[in-house]
């Protein structure tokens, strides 16, 4: 069973090696002639004030929070999508369930998307 995943592992490994190579190759291959000015942080030619790490706005938090919730929605749709055809039509060994399979997901999505609509109406996606 594990053998089925070998292509996926290969893709992952390839992606990771490629990403690391692109990021670090310039640092490894490229010429380095550091000086004090080059190493100091760039702030429009002025002397740097404070740290570069500023606090981000609370707005990001709201985006991340909504992202989690909608991500969870995907998690609930995923098994449904995998199994829908078999449950709806039935298979060689199991009888069909039919419409309830469809309607249950419809109710779930309607309830859920009302939350989405609410977020939209309240301007949760507006960057003001």
């Amino acid at each position: 069973m594990l053998e089925n995943y070998i292509p996926i592992f290969i893709v992952f490994t390839f992606a990771m090696v490629f990403a690391l190579l692109t990021v670090f190759s310039s640092e490894i291959i490229g010429p380095k002639r550091p000086s004090k000015e080059k190493l100091s942080p760039y702030e429009s030619g002025m002397k740097p004030i404070g740290t570069a790490e500023e606090r981000v706005s609370i707005k990001y938090y709201l985006v991340a929070m909504l992202f989690i919730i909608f991500d969870l929605e995907v998690i609930f749709i995923y098994p449904w999508a995998v199994k829908f055809k078999e449950l709806y039509h039935g298979s060689a060994v199991t009888p069909a369930i039919g419409l309830p399979v469809f309607v249950s997901m419809l109710i779930f999505l309607v309830v859920f998307e009302l939350g989405f609509l609410y977020a939209y109406k309240k301007g949760a996606f507006r960057w003001d």
Binding site: T94, P95, I97, V111, G115, L117, Y118, K121, K122
Partner: protein, 486 residues
């Protein structure tokens, strides 16, 4: 799944769908939430419509729950039950929720949380409580608990500009999420041992299993998590801070509905194994929690100067009394706890309602000393508050007395006389801090400094709670009869 499982599901679904009117209240409330969100989105005057819409819907649910109380059944593949205790709990939740709406109509305006979302959150919390009350599977208990808790975390921090409210929300959220973690871990271990999560079988399966140590650890973790949710010592640390920091009308719902719902879960879970030897593992734990909660709550409440904190410690003590009923582990105990839960809800709703009325816009007038001389300036308010204080301290003929009475009798029945005696002693201690307010109101020196704006909606809510406390106290027998039928 094989073909028989699918066929069973198909027939069960047909039965469940045709029994729609049995579980109508929970579907109705779910629909009301969706409609309320639509109103909040599209209507400019949602803040004026939503309270009355919510009150009507919740009262309809309460009425319908009582109407169909004999309509018992289990639906949706053994996930959800109706009728009997479920409906009685649903009545407490929905009626209590309606009273909270009445109390908060004007409160949220003056305390700067004038959002229509308050009512949507309130409905969601009540929906979560109803899920717990109908649960026939540990999964449903967990989902209902999450629905309720998430709502409470938000309601505690609704007053976003006030540091105390934020602090309450953060404390409640962090500790509450931790407690939920305990509960889920416990449920997981139970499932591993019992092989099922159906409430009717899970505990008996665990005790029947040969090597059941993980299952018993699971039960204890479950108990620890719920001890947190009901605010029993030693898991009470959050209660005073959260009750004090949260907006008073949110606190009213948390202290009543929230606590009742957590007790509901415990009652539902332990009910199938009542009277069996299997409960012997849990009884000592419950008894110790009860003893600690009663004395800790009663004694520390004496030292409080803030009335919301005092009521918080009083609620810890009350959790202790109710745990006695569970520790007794017989039918009398359960009846007593259900009766006391109802009585406790309405007593506390009234008390918090008056606190919310007296509280001023900038969160002042919350000290016990602010109630000085209230008796001459606002005789009606003072009389009502005295009634709730008498009822809470367990003085007959109010509901609080009979609640404690039934619970102590149940404890004596199952040879826990020492616990009953401890309960009586703790009640006597608690009389001091309840009656101190009454004495202060009527015999305190000096003029009353508070100038509350007494609004009709709040007054109606408080008077209804008072009437229920009196009625339940005068006719305790008929209420107990109703409960003992199931």
């Amino acid at each position: 799944m094989d073909s028989t499982a699918i066929n069973n599901f198909n027939s069960d679904l047909a039965v469940s769908l045709s029994a729609f009117w049995s579980y109508f209240p929970i579907v109705f409330l779910a629909g009301v939430i969706l409609i309320s969100i639509a109103i909040e989105m599209y209507s400019k005057s949602s803040k004026k419509i939503l309270p009355w819409f919510t009150v009507t819907a919740l009262l309809a649910c309460a009425y319908y729950s009582l109407l169909t109380v004999t309509d018992t059944g289990v639906y949706f593949s053994g996930m959800f039950a109706t009728g009997g205790l479920t409906n009685i709990f649903n009545f407490i939740f929905t009626f209590g929720g309606a009273i909270v709406v009445l109390l908060s109509v004007d409160y949220i305006k003056k305390s700067g949380i004038y959002y229509g979302e308050f009512y949507i959150l309130l409905q969601s919390a009540v929906l979560g409580m109803m899920m717990i009350a109908g649960a026939k599977d540990m999964i449903m208990i967990f989902i209902g608990l999450e629905q309720m808790s998430i709502t409470f975390y938000v309601m505690a921090g609704l007053n976003r500009k006030r540091a105390s409210s934020n602090e309450a929300a953060l404390k409640y959220f962090l500790l509450g999420a931790f407690a939920t973690g305990f509960i889920v871990y416990g449920i997981g271990l139970m499932y591993g041992t019992a092989g099922t999560l159906n409430i009717d079988f899970v505990f008996s399966n665990i005790f029947a299993a040969e090597k059941n140590l993980p299952g018993i650890i699971g039960i204890l973790l479950f108990l620890v998590g719920f001890s947190f949710k009901i605010g029993a010592v030693p898991f009470h640390m959050w209660v005073p801070d959260v009750y004090q920091g949260a907006p008073t009308s949110s606190t009213a719902l948390m202290a009543t509905g929230g606590k009742v719902a957590a007790f509901t879960a415990l009652i539902l879970a332990f009910r199938p194994v009542l009277g069996t030897e299997t409960l012997a593992v849990i009884t000592p734990v419950l008894a110790v929690f009860a003893l600690l909660s009663m004395f800790y709550g009663s004694i520390v409440a004496i030292a409080q100067t803030d009335i919301k904190r005092m009521l918080a410690y009083s609620s810890i003590a009350n959790a202790g009394y109710m745990l006695i009923g569970l520790a007794a582990g017989n039918d009398y105990g359960i009846e007593g706890v259900v009766y006391y839960l109802a009585a406790y809800s309405f007593m506390n709703l009234g008390a918090f309602g008056i606190v919310a009325l007296i509280e001023s816009a900038d969160e002042k007038n919350l000290l016990i000393s602010d109630y000085n001389g209230l008796g001459t300036k606002y005789p009606v308010l003072a009389a009502l508050l005295s009634l709730f204080m008498f009822a809470l301290s367990g003085i007959p003929p109010f509901a609080g007395f009979f609640g404690k009475y039934y619970i102590f009798i149940a404890a004596i029945e199952s040879n826990l006389t020492w616990l009953a005696i401890a309960g009586v002693i703790a009640s006597v201690i608690s009389v001091y801090f309840y009656l101190r307010i009454v004495v202060l109101m009527y015999f305190g020196k000096g003029e009353s400094q508070v100038t509350p704006e007494i609004t009709n909606a709040s007054l109606i809510g408080i008077v209804i709670s008072a009437l229920l406390v009196i009625v339940m106290g005068v006719f305790p027998g008929s209420v107990i009869n109703l409960i003992s039928n199931f």
